[in-house]
């Protein structure tokens, strides 16, 4: 680089200062211009702030013109939308609002979705979400006690503790990679019709405790389905009572104890 010369340098200095002044002025004015809210900005946009949520509720998930306004961290949980709408910072909060689920559920829809996950009544349900392929410990994070995530409940495990969940419960769409699976000619159209019972328990008289209209193997934890963390359509009216089988007897039509014969010593 050539050494700094005073005479031609003076021209340089002047040119540089002019350029600098122009750039700085433009930046500063641009900054303040940008701070202004223009008409087009405010017209069609719903800025989601805590005040907006208070007045309009939370029905903005699918509103494309909704923009999340900047709020403090403590207010953030109220204005979240999209896939993270149900995020809670603390795990216990996921369980705390289980009771708030609407009670006017479509029973038939619930039965259908339950049936779709099982090959037959008593089959281990397939898992309707991706699973960790390598181990089963993460399953218990949500399924040890019932956990609510948004409008869905991850029910508590209905059977006694086994360690290897994925031995029986496989994902309903397993491989995360997709490669022209539709091209494969292997016929998986199965004609297997599993037994699916959908009845209610029989009552001896009006007001009697209904019998258990299903098998109880692998369903020793009644509260898994019938408790507060269970399928809302069949929630018990008396969750405070803990000894279910004291009043609710197994139904001979379904119970498997018939062929539990003592075998060979």
């Amino acid at each position: 680089m050539a050494p700094y010369k005073t005479a031609p340098g003076k021209t340089h200095v002047r040119a540089t200062s002019i350029v600098l002044i122009v750039v700085v002025t433009a930046s500063v004015s641009g900054f303040f211009m940008g701070l202004r809210e223009t008409v087009s900005d405010t017209e069609n946009v719903h800025v989601i702030t805590t005040e907006y949520v208070e007045t309009h509720g939370t029905s903005f998930d699918h509103d494309p013109s909704a923009v999340t306004g900047a709020v403090t961290y403590s207010q953030l949980s109220e204005v979240r939308r999209g896939p993270n709408a149900t995020w809670e910072n603390s795990f216990s909060k996921l369980n705390s609002n289980i009771d708030d689920l609407p009670s006017d559920v479509d029973v038939e829809a619930q039965r259908a979705s339950r049936k779709a996950r099982r090959a037959y009544e008593g089959a281990p349900p397939v898992v309707p979400h991706p699973v960790v392929q390598t181990d089963s410990t993460s399953c218990l994070l949500c399924h040890q006690e019932a956990t609510r995530i948004g409008d869905r409940i991850a029910p508590a495990v209905s059977h006694r503790a086994y360690t290897s969940c994925t031995q029986c419960h496989v994902a309903d769409s397993g491989l995360p990679i997709k490669w022209n699976t539709g091209r494969f000619a292997m016929d998986s159209n199965s004609e297997f019709k599993g037994e699916h019972t959908t009845s209610s328990g029989i009552r001896a008289y009006e007001g009697a405790p209904p019998t258990i209209p299903h098998r109880t193997l692998m369903r020793e934890n009644c509260m898994s389905c019938h408790g507060e963390g269970g399928t809302s359509a069949i929630r018990t009216s008396h969750p405070d009572r803990q000894s279910c089988t004291q009043c609710h007897a197994p139904d001979a039509g379904y119970d498997q104890r018939e062929f539990l014969k003592t075998t060979f010593p």
């Binding site: 218990l140 031995q167 016929d187 199965s190 369903r219």
Partner: protein, 811 residues
């Protein structure tokens, strides 16, 4: 895995279990099996159709269809628990493309024919050239099916070319047992899993392959017990996540690791002198590998082992020397019980027999044998590889009950029970599986001695290694005839000349024998579809057709038909006519005849009616003074096995050295048949997955299983993938000296292969990895190695979406 997190979750699980316990539905037990319930479902017991664990299920039948399955709570094996395949085993009968009519290939196309025509075609083919006929059977054969085939070919045709697919899975375990205990099959049983303190997995993945047995062990932890699990493997699997130790070794060097442990026992002087002094002799191989080798001494054994120092083992295997020392110390302890589990990693191995011997060796050398929990346990893959292939002896060199064709008194025993003239059975062993198929795929005038193969209950077109050499070559040979008894169209039926629709599982009576010597029985519960018929009936029908045609071998000494089935009045029943097949219980009669042959080697199976009453019985089943029958959980051990003479403690009563002692073998580390080199630098390993049974013909037709695992993939180390420019879902090409195949890549999926190796599951019919596997066999067991060959892996040039480049589809 963070220890603290595990402890927390363990405690939470315990808490949950306690909370659950007080809400448990209590049940007493009463009443009989197969009772009709008010809801219209009839329940009956059966062993599961799938793996060698042998869980019992309750099958719910309504309107001649299986509609539900439950784990059988009364079964000692699984106590009401199943795995995902077991829970969906009812659905395997109902795929839409079930085979229902016999078909003969005319002008390249399969056309429907009648059963009578099919039987005639087969009988004529056999009649014309009985010595060129071969039977390829299965570890999924029921005991009566295997016995009928065995009697028909070895007794009726004086032909020893019968071998099962179990040759591809358990043969090395068999030779391992024969050369150490002197007689096949484990000494221990599943009770060992409840009693062990340490469980070592040698190259197997029981969390996916024997899930009910594995959870039997890991569930002990949720009851507060401490069990140490050690995974010695070539890649991380689901099993590894439950283990405290994972020791990754270079393929084939498991031989060195076992020797390293033996070396430590000797160096530390912690080997069990008392046990070895009383119950063991030493053995080493002869110059050419042989089943029984030659006598050796402790000094020679010690000398040969001296090479396997921890440093040398680390050099060979990659397992750190301090881990070898750790294992040596573990085996040296007397206060713990150690169970070793192994399956295909050890058996499908070019030195599989040696590896089996070494595993038995370190258990016997250290005294970890002969007590519940101290057990070298070979796990069987198929539901009846033990019960049928090994015990009925449906192998080219064997006869029922642990006998072999080479021995004259063994042949006499069978000829006596079969009422055949002396000298009927051929003393020359027939062709084992690989030799059989190799011969079948060669032209007749070029050493192709086998002209006809009848395949029952297995899928060799998918499961044989190096398929181009052992199967697909048949396509061009017009004078070769392939008969296939099957339930669904498979890779095998693609090249079949005659396809016979078969009845499946509970569509027929059956008896299986599982991994712990438990023989289990079931009754037919539903009718097979269309014209599908029992495999056993097919064998008898063909035999009778030959009898009608005057083939001398099919009549016994008194001129009666070889399969003379009688009713209760003593009159012969024409069971070769399908309408009369179920007039009597053919299974029972064949089984009782077979039973007479099981006493010689103390493999006494229970009477059929006892099996009906129970959820299986472990042989030897002996009769008590009061007429009841007792099973034997632990063989060779005085506290459990009544055939052990009083005061002996442990008695290997069929000892090779005829002195009631077991054999501790030395076997060296030898390199693999095809190790990676410059041109093919990657190890290719194949194996299975939880959701699919073997070639997937049954499980891929169950929607829940198919959706959980829709197709095959290749797993590799992420760094290797990055080097090759491969990401999750990209198409990789795997090439070996035998061909190439394209597969999608799955990274950080279910298993994590080591750098420089890849893993491909073999269940996918459209992505037949066996086209490029090696197929080199163990010299003693003749079992091929599916776990190791050399390959090169690279990215496919373009990613196909609707590319015409089809991935190795047949046709």
């Amino acid at each position: 895995m963070n220890c603290q997190r595990r402890d927390f979750l363990k405690a939470s699980a315990l808490a949950a279990a306690t909370a659950v316990a007080h809400q448990r539905a209590f049940g007493a037990s009463s009443a009989t099996d197969s009772k009709q319930t008010a809801s219209g479902i009839k329940w009956d017991k059966a062993p599961c159709r799938f793996c060698g664990t042998g869980c019992h299920v309750q099958v719910g039948v309504e309107n001649d269809k299986v509609v539900a399955i439950q784990g059988d709570q009364q079964a000692a094996v699984n106590k009401g628990l199943l795995c995902v395949k077991g829970y969906h085993v009812g659905g395997i009968l109902y795929g839409k493309d079930r085979l229902t009519t016999p078909q003969l290939r005319k002008n390249g196309k399969l056309e429907d024919i009648s059963w009578d025509e099919a039987i005639e075609v087969m009988a004529k083919r056999i009649y014309d050239a009985p010595e060129r006929f071969a039977f390829y059977g299965s570890g999924q054969w029921t005991v009566p099916e295997g016995y009928a085939a065995q009697k028909m070919i070895k007794g009726g045709l004086s032909n020893n070319h019968i071998d099962p697919n179990a040759r591809l899975c358990m043969a090395s375990a068999v030779t391992g047992y024969l050369s150490t205990h002197g007689v096949d099959e484990p000494a221990g049983c599943y009770d060992d899993l409840d009693a062990c303190d340490v469980l070592i997995m040698w190259g197997n993945n029981p969390a996916e392959m024997h899930p009910v047995l594995f959870s039997r062990v890991v569930d002990r932890r949720s009851r507060g017990e401490e069990v140490t699990l050690i995974d010695i493997g070539t890649r991380r699997t689901r099993t590894t996540e439950y283990c405290q130790e994972y020791l990754q070794f270079n393929p084939q060097t498991d031989l060195a690791i076992a020797n390293g442990i033996a070396h430590q026992l000797l160096v530390n002087d912690t080997w069990d002198k008392d046990f070895v002094g009383k119950f063991c002799n030493f053995r080493k191989d002869t110059d050419t590998a042989s089943l029984f080798g030659q006598a050796s001494t402790f000094e020679e054994y010690k000398e040969l082992m001296s090479e396997y120092t921890p440093e040398r083992v680390e050099e060979l295997s990659g397992v750190p020397a301090e881990k070898i020392v750790y294992l040596g110390e573990l085996f040296g302890r007397k206060d713990i019980r150690i169970t070793s589990l192994w399956c295909m990693g050890v058996n499908q191995h070019t030195r599989g027999t040696n590896m089996n011997r070494l595993l038995h060796g370190i258990h016997m050398l250290s005294g970890h044998f002969g007590k519940p929990g101290d057990a070298p346990t070979s796990l069987t893959g198929q539901p009846s590889a033990c019960g049928t292939a090994r015990e009925v002896g449906t192998l080219a060199h064997a006869l029922p009950g642990g006998r072999i064709v080479k021995k004259e008194d063994h042949r006499r025993d069978c000829e006596k029970v079969w009422n055949l003239p002396e000298g009927t059975i051929n003393p020359k062993p027939g062709k084992h599986t690989v030799a059989m198929w190799e011969s079948f795929c060669k032209p007749t005038n070029d050493g192709g001695d086998i002209g006809t193969i009848w395949v029952q209950v297995t899928n060799p077109g998918h499961t044989l290694p190096n398929l181009k050499k052992l199967f697909t070559g048949k396509k061009d040979l017009d004078d070769k005839f392939l008969i296939v008894s099957e339930v669904y169209p498979t890779a095998t039926t693609e090249l079949a000349d005659l396809v016979l629709p078969a009845a499946m599982w509970v569509e027929k009576n059956g008896v299986f024998g599982n991994s712990e010597r438990r023989t289990q029985q079931w009754f037919k519960m539903v009718n097979p579809p269309g014209q599908a018929r029992d495999d056993c009936w097919m064998t008898i029908a063909v035999a009778h057709k030959l009898f009608e045609m005057g083939y001398p071998g099919m009549s016994d000494k008194d001129g009666k038909f070889l399969f003379d089935i009688k009713d209760t009045a003593g009159n012969s029943v024409p069971v070769w006519e399908w309408e009369h097949y179920y007039d009597v219980n053919v299974d029972e009669q064949l089984f009782e005849e077979y039973r007479q042959l099981t006493f010689k080697k103390h493999k006494d199976v229970a009477p059929y009616q006892e099996l009906v009453k129970s959820r299986g019985l472990r042989w030897p089943v002996v009769q008590n003074d009061n007429g009841t029958w007792s099973e034997t959980p632990f063989r060779f051990m005085e506290f459990s096995d009544r055939y052990v003479e009083k005061g002996k403690g442990i008695q290997f009563y069929h000892s090779v050295t005829k002195d009631d002692r077991g054999l501790i073998w030395f076997a060296p580390y030898e390199p693999a048949a095809e190790a990676p080199d410059e041109q093919y630098p990657t190890w290719l390993c194949t194996g299975r997955v939880l959701e699919h049974w073997h070639s997937g013909t049954m499980t891929r037709r169950v929607p829940q299983l198919r959706n959980a695992m829709p197709h095959a993939y290749v797993e590799m180390h992420p760094e290797d993938a990055a080097e090759k420019g491969l990401q999750n879902g990209d198409i990789a090409v795997i090439e070996t000296r035998r061909g190439k195949i394209e597969l999608p890549v799955w990274l950080n999926g279910r298993s994590k292969p080591a750098k420089g190796s890849v893993f491909v599951p073999f269940f996918d019919e459209q992505l037949l990895i066996n086209e490029i596997t090696l197929g080199e066999i163990d010299p003693i067991s003749k079992e091929p190695d599916y776990k190791k060959c050399a390959a090169v892996v690279y990215a496919k040039a373009s990613q196909p979406q609707s590319s015409p480049a089809e991935p190795n589809e047949l046709n």
